[in-house]
């Protein structure tokens, strides 16, 4: 008889918290349920028709007890809510120094890309002990990136980016599922998350880079940023977005994460979603002082291309990034 699992492995920092919350609620439920069932059976048997129990002084209602019961239910509810919310907020905002990974859900496969360059299908290699931030989107329908052993889940919604993060604690191979129904092969859109010691991870990165050089130029090995740069030139972005007088578009050097004032006076933070929107729907947010001449690239660039362009633009903000 194969091993009889009751709980998925605790392979991420928050897994322990989620399980503690779960066992707490299970314990509370078992106590509450057995208390009620116990009382019901006791009363039903004691006062069964024909039994000689004393039935004088029947109570039709007791407002104080009712209020007490309502109060306990509400107070318990708030307590459970706060416990749950605390654990939840640990899963929402990723720490700043997190390793960044881009995930694109597509009908019936997960395409994962590391800034350092490796691209994987239905596989995700991550180092143990370091937070990993996922920027997730979908190319067609709604999927959901779900790693039970890490207790994280986040929908991949087409048309926008969603965030999730985890920090693996134990090396091992864990399940990757799609949790939102997405069509015929929904149950085959699964894969593996391989958590490795940092040394193994570095070795894996090197092997990926080496392997990539051998691969054809078309898949253009090297980092996402370098692939982004090639796209930046290939698609003609470089002809407008340059520094200096003949620029017809705002310079993108040092743009990432800064405040941008728009033509209608409002300001917006230049994050990934802003760049994606500006590529696909340029007229939505026109930078102050520039005319809306940029054509839309809707349909010309895939989700991976946009990720690579974002990485390239991000690399322009880091000192010593690729020169323009």
């Amino acid at each position: 008889m194969q091993e009889f699992p009751i709980l998925p492995e605790r392979a991420s920092t928050i897994a322990g918290e989620v399980d503690a919350l779960f066992w707490g609620l299970v314990a509370f439920s078992v106590i509450a349920a057995s208390a009620v069932i116990g009382i019901v059976l006791y009363l039903a048997i004691k006062y069964r028709a024909g039994s000689a129990a004393d039935r004088s002084g029947r109570v039709e209602g007791n407002f104080k007890m009712e209020l007490a019961w309502i109060a306990t239910a509400v107070v318990l509810g708030i307590a459970v809510f706060t416990a749950g919310a605390k654990v939840y907020f640990d899963t929402v905002y990723a720490p700043a120094d997190a390793l960044h990974v881009y995930v694109v859900g597509k009908q019936w496969m997960w395409k994962i890309e590391h800034p350092e360059g490796p691209r994987e299908i239905n596989e995700l290699h991550v180092p143990v002990g370091r937070p990993v931030r996922l920027t997730i989107t979908s190319q067609d329908v709604i999927h959901s990136f779900y790693v039970p052993e890490f207790r994280i889940k986040m929908d991949a919604v087409p048309g926008r980016y969603t965030q999730a993060w985890f920090q693996a604690t134990q090396p091992g191979v864990y399940h990757l599922f799609c949790a939102e129904y997405c069509g015929t092969e929904h149950s085959r859109m699964i894969g593996r998350v391989v958590a490795m010691t940092p040394a193994d991870y570095e070795a894996w990165l090197e092997s990926q880079k080496a392997g990539a050089v051998v691969a054809s130029a078309a898949t253009a090995g090297g980092t996402m940023a370098s692939r982004g740069e090639q796209l930046f030139v290939g698609l003609g972005c470089a002809s407008c977005h340059v520094q200096g007088p003949q620029a017809r578009g705002p310079s993108l050097v040092g743009l990432m994460g800064t405040e941008v004032t728009l033509a209608d006076g409002s300001t917006v933070v230049a994050d990934e979603a802003y760049i994606r929107e500006s590529i696909l729907n340029p007229a939505a947010k026109i930078v102050a002082g520039w005319t809306p001449v940029m054509p839309s690239f809707q349909g010309l660039v895939s989700e991976e291309d946009i990720f690579q362009l974002i990485q390239y633009i991000q690399s322009l903000s880091r000192p010593g990034g690729a020169s323009q």
Partner: protein
């Protein structure tokens, strides 16, 4: 012992009269319409059950070997759509509510009999469209129709299925409309709001939800149908539409819809606990108002279905705290039902066993609902079999148990025949055991991470699916038993008296089965809810003068 029943015994019962097709298909008698609903609802339960059986058989093995992937997706979609729109939503209100509400409040019929018949015809038209789409291959979108899959990528008859759901929804609106007006305007003299049976209170709250929630899902499904037929792109992200807006509109109805299914069950539960404890329900007013509280709060919590759907964390907080509040009225009801057993005379007839089964399964369903409403936990268990187990515990465990309990309780009144007690008790216990065997393992495999709607799954989950499928066979047998002995009782069951369970309620004053006009004269209610001492129909008070029949509404007792 002059009762209204004896005065009207020469009149034929509503079943007696003429038996032509026209007299049944064009009837305006709420009791006949209830029987029509009972037959059609049972047929759809069987269709949904077969789809469930296919799903369970497929999941016996990790590999997809019984059905193709597409076949499996269509099977669970048929199971979802048929069970929810064509069994659970009409279920108790259309069968028991239609039959009993006029009787319980001393009215000759519902306020709008013709609209009641129209409601049944809309239900049948919706049902036929659904059956046609199933024969055409059905849809593979799940009963939730999430966009953009349903509106752009799905390749089934989504337009037809959407119309079926739309028409069935409109039938539900009309039933709700009928109940609200009847309960407000047609109560017999003396039947004040606080003398109403709790069954009627529960249906009043349910009708409010039906009226105020169903239009929004009617619109959401209509938009999906229009988008798919004309390519409007309202929910299509490729052209800038927002798929999450569909989820908001859909769940704005679909969570209150959960209470449309549950509240009538709670109404039946209150009646059964009162009747089989032979005492007034503990805290009558609190139970009545908790039904209204559930109806109102039920509208505020829909976002807990969308915690991980790119909904903002702030909205997640709002929905999670409100979900905890909606749990309170249900907890109060359980507390009051338990307290009703105190100093009672509990009889363990078949309906009471179903009621106790309801209590047990509803406890587990309710408490796991609180778990799912907790943000930290829902991230892990959302869209897994943990959720599947939760809503089956509440929808199938509680609601179907209450439906069967109510059916067994009022069967003698509806058809004038008593069913054999032993097989009824056996089926109640069998359903309880079979149900737990089917769905408790799903909690465990859900927490292990088994996602919903999976045709194939990883091998280590198989042990739980095998247990669940074995349990589902026991559950299946448990559900078939009542079909057999209840139909058997129609011909061979012994004649039932007016008040076989010695319960309190105006419906127990009429003959079994009642005459087509319910009451020779409108009764006047002089007893409090569930007050055996003052109730003319109960053995305790036998020999006292019957309820004074009054000729017009204005001649009032109080």
């Amino acid at each position: 012992m002059n009762r209204i029943a004896t005065a009207a015994s020469e009149e034929p019962s509503y079943l007696g009269g003429e038996h032509s097709i026209k007299s049944w298909l064009l009837t305006k008698d709420h009791k006949r319409i209830a029987v029509l609903y009972l037959i059609s609802v049972t047929l759809f339960f069987i269709v949904g059950g077969i789809a469930a059986l296919l799903v369970r058989l497929e999941l016996l093995t990790p590999a997809g070997d019984l059905l193709t992937a597409d076949g499996y997706n269509r099977a669970f979609t048929v199971h979802g759509i048929v069970m929810i729109f064509f069994f659970l939503i009409p279920g108790i209100p259309a069968v028991l509510g239609n039959f009993l509400i006029p009787l319980m409040i001393g009215a000759r019929d519902l306020a709008f009999p013709r609209i009641n018949l129209l409601s049944w015809y809309l239900y049948i038209v919706g049902g036929l469209i659904a059956v046609v789409t199933i024969l055409l291959g059905g849809v593979d979108t799940g009963w939730t129709f999430y966009t953009p899959y349903s509106s752009v990528y799905a390749n089934g008859a989504v337009v037809l299925t959407g119309l079926a759901a739309f028409v069935a929804g409109f039938s539900s609106i009309l039933t709700g409309l009928n109940f609200i007006v009847t309960i407000h305007k047609m109560r017999a003299p003396g039947m004040t709001w606080f003398r109403l049976p709790l069954f009627v209170w529960a249906h009043y709250a349910t009708s409010l939800i039906q009226m105020l929630a169903t239009p929004v899902v009617a619109l959401a499904i209509l938009l999906v149908v229009i988008e798919r037929a004309f390519g409007f792109g309202i929910f299509d992200p490729a052209v800038g539409g927002d798929p999450v807006l569909f989820q908001h509109l859909f769940w704005f109805y679909s969570h209150p819809a959960v209470y449309i299914m549950l509240l009538p069950g709670m109404g039946v539960m209150s009646e059964l606990m009162a009747a089989f404890s032979r005492r007034r329900v503990f805290g009558y007013h609190i139970i009545a108002f908790s039904s209204l509280a559930i109806a109102a709060l039920g509208f505020l919590v829909w976002g807990h279905h969308m915690f991980v759907s790119s909904q903002s964390p702030y909205a997640g907080l709002v929905f999670s705290i409100l979900t905890m509040m909606v749990a309170a009225p249900s907890a109060i009801k359980v507390f009051n039902w338990t307290a009703t057993l105190h100093k009672a005379e509990v009889r363990f007839d078949a309906p009471m066993l179903y009621a106790l089964g309801f209590l047990g399964l509803f406890l587990i369903g309710g408490l796991t609902g609180v778990m799912l409403g907790t943000l930290g936990l829902d991230v892990h268990v959302h869209d897994t079999y943990f959720v599947v187990a939760h809503f089956h515990y509440v929808m199938v465990g509680a609601v179907v148990m209450a439906f069967l309990g109510g059916l067994h309780f009022w069967w003698p009144k509806m058809f004038g025949r008593m069913y054999p007690q032993l097989p009824a008790r056996i089926s109640a216990v069998l359903i309880f055991i079979g149900f737990n065997a089917t769905f408790f393992p799903q909690f465990v495999v859900g927490y292990l991470g088994m996602p919903r709607r999976y045709w194939e799954y990883v091998p280590e989950f198989q042990i739980y699916h095998v247990m669940s499928t074995m349990g589902s066979f026991v559950l299946g047998v448990g559900y078939l038993l009542p079909l057999i002995y209840l139909l058997w009782s129609l011909r061979y069951g012994e004649k039932a008296s007016e008040n076989p369970w010695d319960a309190v309620g105006v419906e127990w004053l009429t003959p079994s089965p009642p005459t087509s006009h319910n009451f020779h004269e409108t009764p006047t209610v002089v007893w409090e809810a569930y007050e055996h001492e003052m109730f003319p129909g109960s053995e305790v008070a036998s020999g006292r003068p019957a309820a004074v029949p009054s000729h017009s509404r204005l001649a009032e007792a109080d």
